[in-house]
Symmetry: C2
Subunit: 202 residues, 2 copies
């Protein structure tokens, strides 16, 4: 998206990313969990946050339920609102990562173009993590009963049932949460994040 307001020039933050990373012993980054409803995004994100925090990391989860109460409270579920929702999340996640935070996001984010925008915002510091549990697995689990309601037509435009999910084409990591147990998935995620956030000196 182009910048609508002219004559704006970016000011260098006086504390550099490298300084922040060195002091805290790791870099920030955006770890973008995507997958069907019920694929385990929030469960894994909050549990991963807990473990990374316990390991001494700076870490924060952004998820739809929380953001919709504040920043995105002006947005509904119409297609353009969903796109704007993900655009803002991508931008805020990028800001967070720039401040040294390991930023975990848990959004269905069904469209490739929207995820591509989030990747662009994070300027190379973006990790697309596809929780590839199949529709059958997610619907079979249906932890919130939403699939049932979608099948009954009580929820419209439900991803996987009445709205598309565009699977990632080149994600940095794929975990089939339909097959892998939570504990095992967490171990894979933890290893991946720790490795990705190792400080790379200039």
């Amino acid at each position: 998206m182009s910048v609508k307001s002219g004559n704006i020039k970016a000011i260098e933050h006086r504390v550099s990313d490298l300084e922040r990373s060195r002091r805290q012993g790791h870099q920030g980054g955006v770890f973008w969990l995507t997958g069907l409803p019920g694929s385990g995004k929030s469960t894994l994100a909050f549990e991963l946050e807990r473990r990374l925090f316990d390991a001494g990391r700076q870490v924060y989860v952004m998820d739809g339920d929380n953001l919709r109460h504040g920043l995105n409270s002006d947005l509904g579920f119409a297609p353009q609102d969903r796109a704007e929702n993900i655009r803002r999340v991508g931008e805020v996640a990028a800001l967070y990562a720039g401040s040294g935070m390991i930023t975990l996001t848990a959004f269905i984010s069904p469209y490739r173009a929207d995820r591509q925008g989030a990747r662009k915002a994070a300027k190379g510091n973006f990790h697309e993590i596809y929780l590839s549990a199949s529709l059958e697995a997610c619907e079979g689990r249906d932890p919130k009963g939403h699939y049932k309601m979608a099948r009954e037509g009580k929820i419209l435009d439900f991803t996987g049932i009445s709205a598309p999910y565009e699977a990632p084409e080149n994600p940095e990591l794929v975990i089939d949460t339909g097959v892998m147990a939570v504990e095992e998935s967490l171990r894979v995620l933890l290893d991946y994040v720790e490795s990705a956030c190792r400080v790379k000196d200039a």
Copy 2:
């Protein structure tokens, strides 16, 4: 603002604010610098960030120039865009503070209602800091030459000249940066922030 999307319930972050504060030795908070153009908001914010960082704090500056490249790149300078700009900044600053960050914001934010919204978003963790340098002082300094251009009609709706600035009525801190030197202002700010961010145990 009410929440447009129904059936959304806030999920508790598994890592509590208190845990974050205890580990890093201080709380987060929003420190909202407001004042006329040229009153020293960005200068003080970035220098304060440097010193707080050197003192071992988690700190980050949000300012208009940077945010307008990303999150707010869809906004111009029309009145409703300015209001939305400040609303989003307030929400993101509140999120940051919730993740334990000392969040410094540097925005003219000329309207009381907009600052009130930012205060509300931060849920009690908000410090309005009024840099009260007079119009004469700011215009006399005119570091970017914008006042001159505003007087010549080359910039429209310029706060203090052709657009109003509503001074805070009950700010937490007032610093007359038209009179006080930068170094002195920084000392006052540093003392204030350190005191406000002391960990208050439950």
